[in-house]
Symmetry: C2
Subunit: 365 residues, 2 copies
């Protein structure tokens, strides 16, 4: 973070000191903002305070901003309580679904003029205050979903909160947000889970043939069921839309595989696969850009210091790595480092590495 | 590779100089085995020979072993031709599906006593001789699928081939192999594709919210449709089994989301998600073991040399990294290095790094 001074005017009361709440507390505290941490669990409050996420609540607190970071199921209830308890504070929440809490708040007649929804697109498979970190939000989109009753000044308060935490504020309607996350986050979670479930009864021998493809497609299936039951429940409408379209394609695929002699069966298989190519190509790359990097694959012995030596020598060339990945080699004492660089420096880097004796296993644009 | 001497007795004729064929040629040539490269395309032969994958075929060739590495659709046809053209050679293939070519060869009355199927579990999203590398097979399983007519000596020949290329030979029936790869490779490909297809018509704004979860689940959807039409077509029977089970679960999931008020809807949602947890936990880790590593997350500035400095300092501690991953931070000039180490050295490494001024964003068992 470049600025010394926070844009956010405190005190900020954080309600719910799990991964997101404690991370908000840590990040704001680092910027010098006064943070008050509250959680239904006294143990969690102690942990968060020890971590440096803020101080305990007191009877005389007068927070300017309240960030509600509790599980999706109870967001609306807690937001309503906070609106009532602190009649001068602006209240936001960080739940992954935005339409449902707003609808619930309307139903119970909460003072919506001081509520504005938001959603930082950050998280880990692992939750809890113990996983919190001040830099959790850096570079991540922080979606703000104002409603018709929010004056512009309130949007700016949440934008400042996002900017103070290194996030990139982005405003959209609650509906647009919920539809977007159903597609880019909730449906992938569902699909990864459904695929991983197929492994439960598999023979160990079959699983021994697993490669990186299976690992990548099922990684997020390790996420916490309690949380995802709530997220999926709250955004069911849009998730169902994506999953139904997917099921239609799945039926076409199964049908094409089942009756390959049928007219057009191979063509429809090819179209599905080509559609997958087209879809994945639309995902923006690092730094929010849609550019492709050149890949250089270097053979690295699997012993202390080897990868460091490689990267240290890359550092000496002055060439910046855009991404780095060490490829798993099950059973082997060797690794392959896949290095992504800007296409224009690929040739230079390959030459530099080869002149230093590194074995280049491949280089691709 | 530790051995100077190859186990494989040449000459080895490689038919089809794409990614797998050219990589077999490169790897064997490196070990001093005489390799003959053949391909239907003269350009491909030239490229492979220039790469060092072997020499061109001549009329007087007397190969001891023939490795057929052509697209799945024509494997049986080419194997039959090779069996006929070289009556003293043992012929294997490296296709991803093993039941179909054997059945076809039986149908055309080929000399099956000299054919033994195999499948190295290696590949990339990118194909072609240009992507070939001698170390493609290192540490990967190389499945050998003998039939009742293969004497034990023939299995040993393919085991030696696999060992010479650094792979881990594993013998199973063609049926067991096809069922296993349907689960760990072909179904994940199908699912990743179906998910990625949903992005084709998405708004750019929705895609801007994409995170690592979407990237990981859709990565393999970038694979070549031509190849996958053939693989899926040839292994349709077992892929359909997996996909039908997945569809059953998908229906349950959609139903549970659609009628959340129904008795047991939440429980069935939770069961599906927990099943995903259980499935992903069964995938063996690096080095073929089922052990879990400790993760340490370190903040790294996104400029030349920073990551190298980190890894160089890790190297100085003498602690071996089991895995390394640089986390994308779209829009930000910062990276998070996720380092996996054995649990017993985690604490030491964190202390060492902190004493050198590194900021640890998190450490987890």
């Amino acid at each position: 973070m470049n600025e010394r001074t926070a844009r956010t005017v405190g005190p900020v009361r954080v309600v719910g000191a799990g991964l997101l709440g404690a991370s908000v507390g840590l990040g704001l505290s680092e910027k010098g903002v006064e943070v008050i941490v509250h959680d239904a669990s006294p143990t969690t409050v102690s942990l968060a305070v020890d971590y440096g996420a803020g101080r305990r609540a007191s009877d005389t607190d007068a927070p300017a901003l309240i960030v509600v970071a509790v599980p999706p199921d109870i967001v609306a209830e807690v937001v309503a309580q906070e609106l009532q308890a602190y009649p001068d504070a602006l209240v936001t929440d960080v739940a992954s679904v935005k339409g449902a809490p707003y609808a619930e708040l309307s139903l119970v007649g909460a003072d919506l003029s001081r509520y504005i929804g938001s959603h930082p697109m950050a998280g880990r498979e692992r939750g809890g205050a113990i996983s919190a970190r001040a830099d959790l939000f850096i570079g991540r989109p922080w979606v703000i979903t104002p409603h018709a009753g929010n004056p512009a000044g309130q949007i700016a308060v949440i934008e400042n909160l996002a900017l103070d935490l290194g996030a990139i504020p982005q405003t959209m309607s609650a509906e647009d947000h919920d539809r977007a996350v159903a597609l880019v986050s909730h449906a992938p979670q569902a699909v990864s889970t459904l695929l991983a479930r197929r492994l439960v009864d598999a023979e160990a021998r079959s699983l021994s043939l697993a490669g990186q493809g299976l690992r990548d497609t099922t990684r997020i299936a390790a996420s916490a069921p309690e949380l995802w039951v709530q997220i999926m429940g709250a955004n069911s409408r849009y998730i169902i839309e994506v999953l139904r379209d997917l099921r239609t394609d799945l039926d076409v695929l199964i049908h094409a595989l089942d009756d390959q002699a049928a007219a057009g069966a191979r063509r429809s298989l090819a179209q599905i696969l080509a559609g997958g190519n087209a879809g994945v190509a639309r995902i923006p790359g690092k730094h929010g850009q849609d550019r492709r990097y050149a890949q250089i694959v270097v053979k690295v012995e699997d012993r202390p210091g080897e990868l460091a030596r490689l990267l240290s020598e890359i550092g000496q060339t002055g060439i910046n790595m855009e991404d780095l990945r060490l490829e798993h080699s099950p059973g082997a004492q060797i690794g392959l480092a896949e290095i992504a660089v800007l296409p224009e420096v690929e040739e230079k880097l390959v030459a530099e590495l080869e002149s230093r004796g590194w074995k280049i296993a491949g280089a691709y644009l």
